[in-house]
């Protein structure tokens, strides 16, 4: 891997080799971020390319107030949300208030089924993975971007807030809504699987 830390100075000066190292280091994460927010491979590739094209142009003015990763994720998240907006113009950007999800409050749990005891193989099947992707793609862009940054990219609440340019309290509120919605979707799915498993055993 690329052991030596990236040199900001070289990046700002337009050093191609250093930029190539930055691409090697961050492109898999940027691609995944784009893929999870847009839920489309072609869109994810567009997000990936636009992010690094923009980064290349903007690097000379990068002041290093946030980390390079945070800065790149911010560009990528904005690109991904813009792609969604172009496809569905009624979608509001994450910075804007008045998202329908904000009004709704925390969703009350409907599915009360304890599927934690299902066999591990059931949880890791490709069918389950497809269901997980479907559930995540069903979140509103505002909830999805918080969830993707925090739970899939592994950022902290603070870093997620920094990337999105919102308060930590907003991240926390969106995160609990996103997670409870995903729990609902997975509970409905695993609940059916549990019935199927017990029917097969008879």
């Amino acid at each position: 891997m690329n052991e030596a830390p990236l040199s900001l100075e070289a990046l700002r000066a337009g050093d191609r080799a250093e930029f190539a190292r930055m691409v090697a280091q961050y492109s898999p994460q940027v691609y995944r971020l784009g893929l999870k927010i847009t839920a489309d491979e072609q869109d994810a590739e567009d997000v990936l390319q636009e992010t690094f094209v923009r980064a290349m142009k903007a690097l000379p003015g990068f002041e290093g107030r946030s980390s390079l990763a945070t800065w790149l994720f911010r560009i990528a998240t904005n690109e991904a949300l813009m792609v969604l907006r172009r496809k569905k113009p009624q979608v509001t950007l994450v910075e804007e208030t008045g998202d329908a999800d904000e009004e709704e409050g925390v969703p009350h749990p409907q599915q009360i089924v304890d599927w934690c005891c299902l066999p591990e193989a059931e949880m890791l099947s490709s069918e389950t993975k497809a269901e997980m992707d479907r559930a995540a793609a069903g979140l509103s862009p505002a909830l999805r971007s918080v969830f993707v940054l925090r739970d899939l990219q592994g950022l902290s609440v603070r870093e997620t807030a920094e990337v999105l340019g919102v308060a930590e309290a907003v991240v926390k509120t969106r995160l609990v809504r996103a997670r409870l919605k995903l729990r609902e979707a997975l509970s409905a799915y695993f609940g059916e699987r549990m019935q199927k498993v017990s029917a097969d055993e008879e």
């Binding site: 191609r16 691409v23 898999p28 390319q49 690094f52």
Partner: protein
């Protein structure tokens, strides 16, 4: 569900609870409630499992062709097989 109002109040803190970042007093109140509320216990367990499943998900690898086209777009083709 004996005490629906109480369960609703606790929902907002569940995310912090599964992350282990819920502050002391709230955490104590929640754990006390969980001892007597089956529904909330199921919600907490399945919420924790949901978050774990996503956090542990194997990332989709970036296809080699996507990587090649990226370097081409950035005019960095000469760095294709380095790093």
């Amino acid at each position: 569900m004996k005490n629906k109002g109480h369960c609703e109040d606790l929902l907002a803190s569940l995310s912090d609870y599964v992350d282990g970042t819920l502050d002391g007093q709230l955490c104590e109140a929640l754990e006390q409630h969980l001892q007597s509320c089956h529904n909330c216990t199921v919600v907490v367990n399945t919420l924790r499992r949901t978050v774990e499943l996503y956090q542990q998900e194997e990332p989709d690898a970036m296809p080699e062709a996507v990587h090649q086209r990226l370097l081409h777009r950035l005019q960095l083709d000469d760095f294709l097989h380095e790093g």
